[in-house]
Symmetry: C2
Subunit: 270 residues, 2 copies
């Protein structure tokens, strides 16, 4: 017989959607991390990870899903339990190697404790749309070339663990996502001096795809309802996401926002 599922929740709408789909799941949040769960089952401290593992087992949990955004936490080493003290050196090292390394390390920790780590998209397959135009007008003819150039850039930088998005306008790259995230990237594009932008006509696109070898269970790229307004401010024409491998959060609101802004949202093989 299968054990219970625990949702380890960060901020945003995704943990809420998982809760709605899995009403019997335990809902774990972390001190100092924003969340939208009302109410969570249990609040926990990162410093006492060993106690969390014990508590999950006591509750009959054998599967966990990590969902939602968590800013890199600050730790108080005085509060570490034995397990956290044991893993802290490796965790600190992983934190200096980028998000990928941290997430891989955390997944391995849970697996070593006997838990199965699920991806949100395994529980909610509708999160990751297949190929097709999801919102807005048909992309302009240049958008396909820009999408391919963006896909090439993302594939090339993939081993560097920089980010999962870039912006391309008529073949020219206006920005590559680094640890500040996609909203910040789009703000950077919005700040680009006008004389460096395409003078008229077709504007650029946001291209978003996972890194190669990325663990999609815990770090699948996503767009959400706020993305449309950020694209509009950046003077872009739309977004191209990799089909089946990028999540659309709060899908109905997201698509309505793209439609309302006249921006296309295209899922595409890359």
């Amino acid at each position: 017989m299968t054990g219970r599922l625990a949702i380890l929740a960060g901020s945003g709408a995704l943990p809420v959607a998982l809760t709605a789909a899995c009403p019997d799941a335990l809902r774990v949040v972390f001190d100092g991390v924003a969340h939208a769960l009302d109410p969570p089952t249990h609040a926990h401290r990162f410093e006492r990870l060993g106690a969390l593992f014990d508590w999950l087992r006591d509750q009959g949990v054998d599967r966990v899903v990590l969902a939602g955004a968590m800013a890199r936490p600050r730790f108080d080493p005085a509060e570490f339990d034995a397990e956290m003290t044991r893993i802290a050196p490796q965790l600190m090292q992983a934190m200096q190697s980028g998000d990928d390394a941290v997430l891989r390390f955390i997944v391995a920790l849970f697996e070593a404790q006997g838990f199965t780590v699920l991806g949100a998209a395994e529980i909610l397959p509708d999160l990751t749309p297949p190929e097709g135009l999801l919102a807005g007008p048909a992309p302009h003819p240049g958008a396909d070339a820009d999408a391919m150039r963006g896909a090439e850039i993302l594939a090339r930088i993939s081993p560097l663990d920089l980010g999962q998005a870039c912006v391309v306008e008529r073949g020219l790259c206006l920005g590559v996502e680094t640890l500040q995230g996609t909203a910040f990237l789009l703000d950077v594009v919005a700040r680009t001096p006008a004389q460096l932008r395409t003078p008229a006509g077709a504007r650029g696109v946001l291209v978003k795809a996972p890194k190669q070898g990325q663990d999609l269970r815990v770090d699948m790229p996503a767009i959400g309802p706020d993305t449309a307004a950020q694209l509009a401010r950046a003077g872009l024409d739309g977004a191209v996401i990799e089909a089946g491998r990028v999540m659309i959060l709060d899908r109905a609101r997201c698509i309505a926002a793209f439609d309302a802004a006249g921006l296309f949202l295209l899922a595409r093989r890359m």
Copy 2:
């Protein structure tokens, strides 16, 4: 017998330094492009490139050096001469493939017309310092690891023709230069939310190196006197440039600015 040298000048201090070193050279500027030459020998329009080639030959020029920054120019096709009309389709295509392609195309044009294209650093070897600490305090121990990570990032993105600089702080990349240039990149770093920066102690570094296969005669990366203030605003500890392959413009002022700001400037093999 050797012919004359023509300095084809954009903005900034480099054309002025070349003029001082080569007082007999012709000084050509372009309508609509800022320059600091006083006075230039000749002002020209991009639209009449065929006429420029003829004029250079009439003056006995057989060598040219392209120096200084030129923003991507806007053209008035109604003013094109025959040569410009002939090359315009290829030039427009190159402009959609990035700066590298444009510069390669322009160099090839001058060479096809029989001119030798020199690099500013061939005329002024002091522009590109060899290995060593050029200004400021000795780099902190983590700076070397950050410099190597930056060099790895630049080498990896090199074939993409994105940019020649990145910022790394304790192993994490805070930004990759795209067409907006280094000052813009450092402004992006300055805007990074504080909770994503290293909490205390050693700060990050700007790493600058040419792209692999880049034509260093016409697109050698450079830092200048303004770089120090930009680094300070970005909360960084210094800059690491590739030894022998990055220019320091206005060297005395540049080094004084780094020293005054307490920032290191290190030339390093990469």
